[in-house]
């Protein structure tokens, strides 16, 4: 096969793969502009009516705010705790360090439905079931494995000589942390926070089990909505969610490479 043909075939394959991966999103995006009150593809006529409907729907709006609030608090706490845990895991020299490491990664191993049942039974006696705090705690739990991993990775890449150089040149222990260690870790902490936010923002199963009227997150609101109605508003909302989620992904990509954040 001549090189040109080979390049063309190769490009064709790649395009097909992308189309396959992106098809659901493309379909949803198209449907969101449809004017008919049910989901069908392709749309007949286009308008922004569904978007206007979403913005006017105060249930969606409040759910979106709730989700963002929960995501922000959970991500912040998860980064702070994850950073502290990382120092223990990477720098610590104590017995049972491996057990400690598994403890932090364990939520990643259990299916969310299992975690949800467990959390429900744990939060109930504490009086945290159906509360915002309960859901925040749960989301800190499921995001910790990711924040610990991302921050640990950055910490293990820190050259001990940087900190030694700082000390020799007049920085006390606290100043070394403040002027060298934490600034070097900043991209990792930022990426960890963004990933934690995304996970929390997307999470439906656990929220379904332990969130009540006080904590209806966006995924829950969508779920409830489509139980009774299926119209392009859902599609419009999905597009909005995708656009909102893109922002953290861009931040992650710019602070540390995305592949390093989610890959092994």
């Amino acid at each position: 096969m001549n090189p040109l043909a080979r390049t063309l075939v190769w490009r064709g394959l790649i395009t097909a793969l992308y189309v396959f991966l992106l098809a659901p999103i493309i379909v949803v995006a198209c449907v969101s502009f449809d004017t008919r009150p049910y989901l069908d593809f392709p749309p007949r006529s286009l308008s922004l009516g569904s978007y206007a409907g979403v913005v006017r729907n105060h249930v969606f709006f409040e759910a979106m705010l709730t989700s963002m609030l929960i995501g922000a608090i959970a991500a912040t706490c998860s980064v702070v705790l994850g950073t502290m845990a990382s120092f223990g895991l990477v720098r610590g020299r104590f017995r049972g360090r491996a057990v400690f490491a598994w403890f932090f990664l364990s939520p990643m191993l259990a299916p969310h439905i299992v975690l949800a049942v467990g959390l429900m039974m744990t939060l109930q006696p504490l009086g945290l079931l159906n509360t915002l705090s309960g859901l925040v705690l749960a989301h800190i739990g499921i995001t910790l494995p990711y924040t610990v991993r991302i921050v640990s990775m950055g910490l293990s890449r820190i050259d001990p000589a940087w900190e030694e150089a700082a000390r020799v040149h007049g920085a006390s222990g606290g100043k070394v942390l403040w002027h060298v260690t934490l600034p070097v870790l900043r991209p990792n902490m930022l990426a960890a926070g963004m990933i934690a936010f995304l996970i929390s923002f997307d999470e439906a199963v656990i929220a379904l089990f332990i969130a009540g009227r006080h904590a209806t997150t966006l995924p829950l609101a969508i779920y409830e909505y489509i139980q009774f109605r299926t119209d392009p508003q859902v599609a419009a909302l999905s597009v909005i969610v995708i656009v909102v989620s893109l922002l953290p992904i861009i931040v992650i990509e710019r602070s540390i490479s995305l592949r390093r954040a989610v890959g092994s």
């Binding site: 940087w162 030694e164 020799v168 040149h169 006390s172 600034p183 070097v184």
Partner: protein, 363 residues
Amino acid sequence: MAETIPPAADAFLHVRDLTKQYPGSPRPAVDRASFDLGKGRMLALLGSSGCGKTTLLRMIAGLVPPQGGHVMLGGRDMGHVPLHQRQMGMVFQSYALFPHMDVARNVGFGLEMKGMPASQRNAAVRRMLELTHLENLADRRISALSGGQQQRVALARALATEPALLLLDEPLANLDVKLREAMRAEIRALQKRMDVTCLFVTHDQDEALSTADEIAVMSEGVIQQIGTPQDIYERPANRFVAGFIGRANFLPALWQRPGWAEVPELGLLAIAEHERWQGTRTLMVRPHAIRVRMGGDMTDALRACTGHVVDLSYTGGRYGCQVRVGPYLMETELEAGTRLPIRGQEVQLDWPAHRTRVLDGTP
């Protein structure tokens, strides 16, 4: 154990009996290292890989706690002074520049930590950047610098606080030969100009000989000899130092009479030593001290020995010439451009008595 010797009157840095044994290691990495260094002088710690140079340097910096001994700097015992208050500057082998700061902030780091106001600090940083020829790179990120530039930044950072003691851990090891020689001269000039006392780790003997005021030769954690480059080269204290610095011939020698030694199977040789010794010791002659003559009559037969050329190799500007004399293989040197012997040719070797040295132990 020997009594602790008080510091020399003019010692600025006074190191006594510093010892460190890493856990699980059969012998100390540094064993009772002691030396004194005058203000504004530069000492090279010279030794092969793993002999404990870095460990000794790090103990002086305070990065490794010693198991014994003490360090005094400017009359102050450093034992209880926390690391960040020791007022030292250090260039690490890997440079260890802060990757999240630009060149200027790296250089100003020590001053920032001291709490110097920004305006004053900027002036000091600018001066340091000028001294190290980095004016144009002040805003660069560290990752966008070449090895030589990084080396300069590390040096500028170490000197910016006008430290009492400058520590350099193989600062030139990662540079190519040309740059290494240029930087060597620059470091030396800067050190003299700022009149900073300096300790300089290297495994490169040329670097030590050409740069430092004094050299401490280390082997297996022990300082073997301290002295000026001339001392170390011309009057090595023992067989190890003689073999480590430069090239040398070693012959077994028995005491004969003042000024003369007997070398088995070679006969009597003139030496500079006049004191009697027992048993076999080692006679050292540097290759370039040996005169190689071809044919002709022997004016001073007693001092010469006859041998045959085994090998001749060009080493740039001069030839290395191996000569077999009896059971011994002698290294000699010949200037390029002089008449050269051929392989197998008979030659006479002689050298002045004052260029020989008698060392403890057998060769």
